[in-house]
């Protein structure tokens, strides 16, 4: 790679300044474990009338309004689930059974009375719940807890690593990314797509039909991030143009990562260079946060 790094501040000190107060706690991790394992197994039990309604409670209401949707003797709503109406669901929080409230929806008065409130109940977790998830190599609750703890912490470390690189870059002394390096990085992204979709053989019309809709990019990004890059482009030239800024960022991030983790992985030669170095940084961040 032609682009060079000349100086970088102390990354550990920078990370200390950023801090990790929002690192996932054991409680948050356990909450996510419970949510994953108990999907499909949650029940509701009626709560005492005086207990205030919270998000996720299931409530039975009597609704009165000129609006047909809000004029019902009995309607059952899960608070905060986003199915019924945000205004009503927000108003329900803190109410108790027997209480009445009024809100305005579409300019009309809607009044409702809470007839019943039920609280969500989670079952006791068992190994069978874990086995139903069919996570490879994991069949016990203890193993699943370890797996999820590792996964959630690693995801956090990856996000924190990204923040660290952003904070470091303004203080780093580097070359402006060389055109040759930018071109090479984009070529490495383009080549597998070219082969897979026979992009050289596509007519402009075919390309547009296949990849013209930029709004599809966000959907594909969740499962096929490489393919997502094609959406919104019209041809090879526009693909390269669309990737220019990202390639510059990749080059600069790799310079920083290389210095931090002591690696000479080169993004102009290896499309996985950034990923590999990022993984090393993540493990170092995890050590700083959690020790060990």
């Amino acid at each position: 790679m032609k682009t060079k790094l000349y100086d970088l501040p102390d990354w550990q000190q920078m990370l200390q300044e950023i801090g990790w107060a929002d690192a996932p706690t054991e409680e948050q991790i356990e909450k996510e474990i419970v949510q994953e394992l108990t999907r499909g197994r949650v029940t509701f039990t009626e709560q005492p009338a005086h207990i205030p309604i919270e998000k996720s409670c299931r409530v039975t209401l009597r609704m009165e309004s000129v609006l047909p949707k809000f004029n019902k003797e009995k309607v059952v709503v899960t608070v905060g689930a986003g199915l019924y109406d945000a205004t009503v669901e927000t108003a329900l929080c803190g109410m108790v059974v027997g209480q009445k409230a009024e809100v305005t929806i579409k300019g009309e008065n809607v009044s409702f009375t809470v007839l019943k409130a039920e609280k969500k109940q989670y079952p006791v977790l068992t190994d069978a719940f874990v086995q139903d998830l069919q996570v490879e190599g994991i069949s016990s609750l203890a193993a699943y807890r370890r797996y999820m703890e590792q996964k959630i912490r690693a995801e956090y470390a990856a996000r924190l690593g990204g923040v660290l690189l952003e904070k470091l870059l303004p203080y780093a002394k580097t070359d402006i990314p060389a055109q040759e390096d930018i071109q090479s990085v984009i070529e490495l992204e383009y080549e597998p797509l070219r082969v897979r979709f026979k992009l050289d053989e596509m007519t402009p019309k075919e390309w547009k039909e296949g990849f013209g809709k930029v709004e599809l990019r966000k959907f594909y990004a969740q499962i096929y991030p490489d393919v997502a890059l094609l959406f919104g482009t019209a041809d090879k030239e526009s693909f390269f143009e669309s990737r220019r800024e990202a390639a510059k960022k990749t080059i600069l991030d790799c310079l920083l990562l290389g210095a931090i983790v002591g690696s000479d992985a080169d993004p102009t030669q290896d499309s996985k260079a950034e990923q590999k170095m990022m993984q090393i940084l993540e493990s170092r961040i995890l050590k700083m946060i959690y020790g060990g």
């Binding site: 499909g40 689930a81 019924y84």
Partner: protein, 107 residues
């Protein structure tokens, strides 16, 4: 609230009571994975909504029987009656919630 994995043998029995999202998919289908995430979120937030996960690779007869022309296809049932369907993987949580809301609560 339940998650079930029906085939033609027990499909009608599965969806006969309550609100069900029948989710027809194949394991190789990319957009099906998107819908899986979206429906998973909806079912987690709404324990009264049940999820019938119908892997066509386990029973291809379901395609003809339930007129599924492609994957993913979602069919919404209320007490055994089909109330709506959505085809394709590019639907947001809000879009699917909107369909469910219309069925359960009206417009």
């Amino acid at each position: 609230m339940a998650i079930a994995y029906p085939t033609t043998k027990d499909y009608d029995e599965t969806v006969k009571e309550g609100f069900w999202i029948a989710d027809f998919y194949t394991t190789a289908c990319g957009p099906c994975k998107l819908i899986d995430m979206v429906v998973g979120q909806i079912v987690t937030d709404n324990p009264d909504i049940n999820w019938a996960k119908c892997n066509l690779e386990n029973d291809w007869d379901m395609m003809e029987r339930y007129q599924v022309e492609g994957t993913p296809t979602l069919i919404f049932y209320l007490d055994g009656q089909e109330k709506g369907r959505m085809v394709g993987g590019f639907h947001t949580v809000e879009e699917i919630q909107g369909e469910i809301s219309k069925i359960l609560y009206g417009e």
